[in-house]
């Protein structure tokens, strides 16, 4: 049998995989992308995109409700779940088709099936009809992504006990939901379900939410979420569950010490790389736990085999995967690319959003920096007041010695976009003074970044400064 020969074979059609494939196509490489489910991966189909759509719906409902205070009143919202899901599916289909169109435009071959690594250049694909096809590539890019971590004792039935894939498909609207885990995914679903009217309880085993986020930021977020009626219990664990009819009876230990009943339980205790099916270690590829170990070029220790995205190391974020996809593609094409970001931003789509980049205050301190911090609260920001918001803040962490920005942490509407300024600041090696001296448009939420920068030097205009005062110029 003559195998099909490619310059590169990409296994996985998620954001990392499809980006790598498209860039390879742009670089005139013969490339095939193999996907076992749907193009776009978790991000488009079960993660980022559908959850953001649901969040948007919830946000408008909340905004409409809040307009009452401003003298505008609507009736109670009626949610037609079937229509909502139909719209969501259509939106996702459009996005997925969009990727397919881009594949065609860039001459990327697309193949649906289950990939198996035979050796470092050979991939066997089991197609939907049960037939096998063998492909040979000069390079193989593994982009198999990640999957939700299951919690022992909480067996997923997709009806009462859910994981994030189930939660986003929103088969029915629960009156009450228990979310296990106060990480990014847990808190985003808490926000979605709360906005859609459910009673939401979040339990977290650790003594804090959003584990690696700046403590002051995560503490502020929890306070805001509690105000919205999301019950968060830290240092609390779910010891066991019993499904009674369609409801779950969960034994809680910690801040709550009793069994409580919920319509649904969402297990959101994290994600783990999906490398098991491919068994890369059987080819002698070095692993780092479940992650494939890669170098700066995203090449594994087996030359010609690359890994990108969630299966190639933390953080498990789509934008990191996309960047890695571009790097791997360019390296394969012989270009001197490398994955060398100073920092990767992270967004949490709660209400308000949390977005961070760089080191938290605690991380900066433990890394040995003499840390200086500038903060600005949204209560002092005109733009926030125009939409009735006063909770939130921007916090800048810097190296006191050099004034270099080490981290930017935001709790605010549009934080998802604002954080990009922090990314550029870190990548360019900006100082806090650089940010403070740059004119930010008024009235916007972004002004709070400038104000936080100025506050770090005791020069904020719209806030009483607590840090060092402005030195007065010496008289001549």
């Amino acid at each position: 049998m003559v195998a099909n020969k490619y310059d590169a074979i990409v296994i996985g059609g998620g954001p990392g995989g499809y980006t790598a494939a498209i860039r390879l196509g742009q670089l005139k490489k013969k490339v095939v992308c193999i996907e076992r489910e749907r193009l776009g991966g978790v991000c488009l189909n079960w993660g980022c995109m559908p959850s953001k759509a649901l969040l948007h719906v919830g946000e408008v409902i909340t905004a409409a409700h809040d307009l009452k205070e401003m003298g505008v009143e609507f009736g109670e919202p009626r949610i037609d779940l079937a229509s909502l899901n139909k719209w969501k599916s259509k939106m996702i289909d459009d996005l997925v088709n969009g990727v397919g169109t881009l594949f065609k435009a860039n001459k990327v071959e697309y193949m649906v099936g289950e990939a198996e690594l035979i050796n470092k250049i050979t991939v066997r694909v089991k197609k939907a009809d049960g037939r096998f096809e063998t492909l040979v590539g000069d390079a193989v890019v593994i982009a198999t992504g990640s999957e939700p971590v299951a919690l022992p004792g909480f067996k997923r039935d997709s009806k009462t006990i859910l994981n994030s894939d189930d939660a986003v498909s929103l088969a029915d609207l629960p009156k009450s939901i228990l979310i296990l885990g106060a990480g990014v995914i847990g808190l985003e679903f808490a926000t979605i379900y709360r906005r859609l009217g459910a009673e939401v309880t979040v339990v977290e085993m650790l003594d804090r939410a959003l584990a690696d986020t700046d403590l002051e930021i995560s503490t502020l977020l929890l306070r805001i979420l509690k105000k919205q009626g999301i019950n968060v219990h830290l240092k609390t664990k779910a010891a066991g569950v019993e499904v009674v009819g369609s409801r779950a009876r969960v034994k809680l230990e910690g801040e709550i010490n009793e069994a409580r009943e919920y319509d649904k339980v969402l297990v959101a205790v994290g994600r783990r790389p999906r490398t098991g099916d491919l068994r890369p270690e059987s080819l002698g590829i070095a692993m780092d736990g479940l992650f494939i170990k890669v170098n700066e070029k995203r090449e594994s220790d087996v030359p010609g085999v690359y890994a990108i995205g969630d299966c190639a190391g933390a953080p498990l974020l789509a934008h990191k995967a996309m960047k890695e996809g571009i790097v791997a593609a360019e390296v394969i094409a012989g270009l001197p690319a490398a994955y060398d970001p100073i920092a990767v931003p992270n967004c949490v789509y709660t209400d308000p959003q949390v977005a961070t980049v760089g080191l938290s205050e605690e991380q900066a301190k433990s890394a040995g920096y003499e840390v200086s911090v500038g903060k600005f609260r949204l209560s002092a920001l005109g733009r926030a007041r125009t939409v009735g918001i006063s909770d939130g803040m921007v916090k800048i962490v810097a190296d006191k010695k050099t004034d270099l920005v080490l981290g930017v942490h935001i709790v605010s509407p549009t934080a998802e976009s604002m954080v990009a300024e922090g990314v550029v600041a870190l990548e360019m090696g900006a100082t806090v003074e650089d940010i403070g001296l740059s004119i930010h448009p008024h009235p916007t939420f972004s002004e709070s970044i400038m104000e936080a920068a100025e506050a770090l030097h005791g020069k904020s205009i719209h806030m009483a400064n607590v840090t060092a005062p402005i030195p007065t110029p010496a008289k001549t």
Partner: protein, 455 residues
């Protein structure tokens, strides 16, 4: 707790050093003052003694790396201690939420600066006027950005990758030590830091584009020799000189018949005093006399201040060929030395140069250079100026040639003298007159002796 050892300040105005050879392996115990590493600066190799006693945990700078003064070269620890994390130069890609142990680059470790051997440290060179070269102290070395990485924008980092330059080896000239595009270009064109990680020989697909370079174009059998050590320094100096000075050549000839006779007479006396008398001391002496007459030939151009620095010392560099390449030891105050003293100094420096034992002092402070290509033969050469000096005198083989004297063809001992000079500082007339004066002094050594102030 591990301590970092930084590249010591090796000599005045030396901004970086190349790790030539590690004398201690990782994991080995090092005694105080035990020779630790050989470092090359400005063509001089010095042995750095260990300033601390302990275990060499990591050679942060590999052999061949060019490290700015003040940047870490090694990490030391106590017995049983190890590095829990990669060295600063290899910090893992930072994530939005890096676990603290990944951020080792930012970790502040107590730092120790190695002591350069005292006898090898050049004294401040008063009146040398080499202000054209930026004098950088430890505080001006490449700044470290967030996460302990070199401070450079993404575009500059990409540019460095394209040129195969390791940013850890680049000194940033921008605000706060930021590495600019030009800094990367400078290191790349000096062949410097790239040596450590010279182009990875990965198969280049056809039409890969950007990767094509001088090296990549070569086909057929080639051998790749890393540009390191003295060769790298020479390459660096030569290209800098050629890019900076306005090189111009002037050639004259000298009738040295009488000098040859004089030298032949003196040879025996010299030998009795243990001196091998060559012609070179006479050329040095004559050059000094001509330099005194033409002060702009014994000068340098301070580009920053737009000033010409006229030097009052006559320190003559002598180009010496060694196995590793050309070095230029300097005879200080050559104008005040006798012919015999000069002969001794030249022999002594040449010997040290060939043995690789030149100290920084031996090559520092030159004001003018002589390169003697006579031993090989040929007509004359167009030498590269030993920047920031203004001129270099090429001396050549002495041959008997028929020349016309008083309408007669006679056989005389003749030689060519070439002067390569920086036309920015002196014009052709001065340079030509300078060589003519040297030629005349050599032609009439008795007159020269009588005019000499140091008789």
């Amino acid at each position: 707790m591990p301590v970092e050892l930084e590249m010591p300040e090796l000599a005045e105005s030396v901004i970086e050093g190349e790790i030539v050879k590690w004398l201690v392996k990782e994991g080995e115990h090092v005694k105080l003052d035990q020779p630790l590493v050989e470092v090359m600066t400005d063509k001089v190799t010095v042995e750095i003694p260990s300033p601390i006693e302990g275990i060499l945990l990591k050679q942060v700078a590999p052999e061949g790396a060019v490290v700015p003064i003040g940047k870490p070269i090694a990490i030391f620890g106590k017995e049983g201690e190890s590095l829990a994390s990669p060295a600063p130069a290899e910090t893992a890609p930072a994530s939005a939420t890096p676990p603290p142990e990944v951020v080792v680059g930012g970790e502040v470790k107590p730092k120790i600066e190695a002591q350069a051997p005292l006898d090898k440290v050049a004294p401040a060179r008063v009146g040398n006027g080499q202000t054209g070269a930026p004098a950088k102290g430890p505080s001006e070395t490449a700044a470290i950005g967030p996460f302990g990485r070199p401070l450079a924008t993404p575009a500059v980092r990409k540019f460095a990758r394209e040129l195969g330059v390791d940013l850890n080896q680049v000194r940033g000239s921008g605000e706060g030590g930021r590495i600019q595009r030009e800094d990367v270009q400078r290191v790349a064109s000096s062949g410097g830091a790239a040596a450590g990680q010279a182009a990875q020989p990965r198969p280049q697909p056809v039409g890969a584009g950007a990767a094509a370079s001088a090296g990549a174009a070569a086909s057929g059998e080639t051998e790749r020799v890393p540009l390191r050590g003295l060769r790298r320094v020479i390459a660096d100096h030569m290209i800098h000189s050629k890019h900076t000075a306005a090189h111009t050549l002037h050639v004259d000839e000298a009738d040295v018949t009488e000098l040859v006779a004089m030298r032949n007479r003196a040879k025996q006396i010299a030998a009795e005093r243990g001196v091998k008398l060559t012609f070179l001391p006479f050329f040095v002496k004559a050059a000094c006399a001509a330099l005194i007459k033409h002060p702009y030939m014994n000068a340098s151009l301070d580009d920053d201040k737009h000033e010409i620095v006229l030097k009052k010392d006559y320190n003559i560099g002598i180009a010496v060929n060694t196995e590793g390449g050309l070095v230029v030891p300097v005879i200080h105050n050559a104008d005040r030395k006798s012919i015999f003293d000069l002969a001794r100094a030249i022999a002594d420096l040449a010997e040290k140069a060939r043995a690789g034992k030149l100290a920084h002092d031996d090559i520092a402070g030159g004001t003018f250079t002589i390169t003697n290509v006579g031993s090989v033969g040929g007509l004359f050469t167009f030498p590269v100026i030993n920047w920031p000096e203004v001129g270099i005198l090429g001396t050549h083989s002495i041959q008997q040639r028929p020349v016309v004297r008083n309408d007669q063809i006679v056989i005389r001992d003749m030689t060519y003298l070439s002067i390569s000079f920086d036309h920015r500082v002196v014009d052709g007339a001065i340079a030509a007159q300078f060589v003519k004066d040297v030629a005349e002094l050599l032609a009439a050594p008795d007159v020269f002796l009588m005019e000499s102030g140091s008789w």
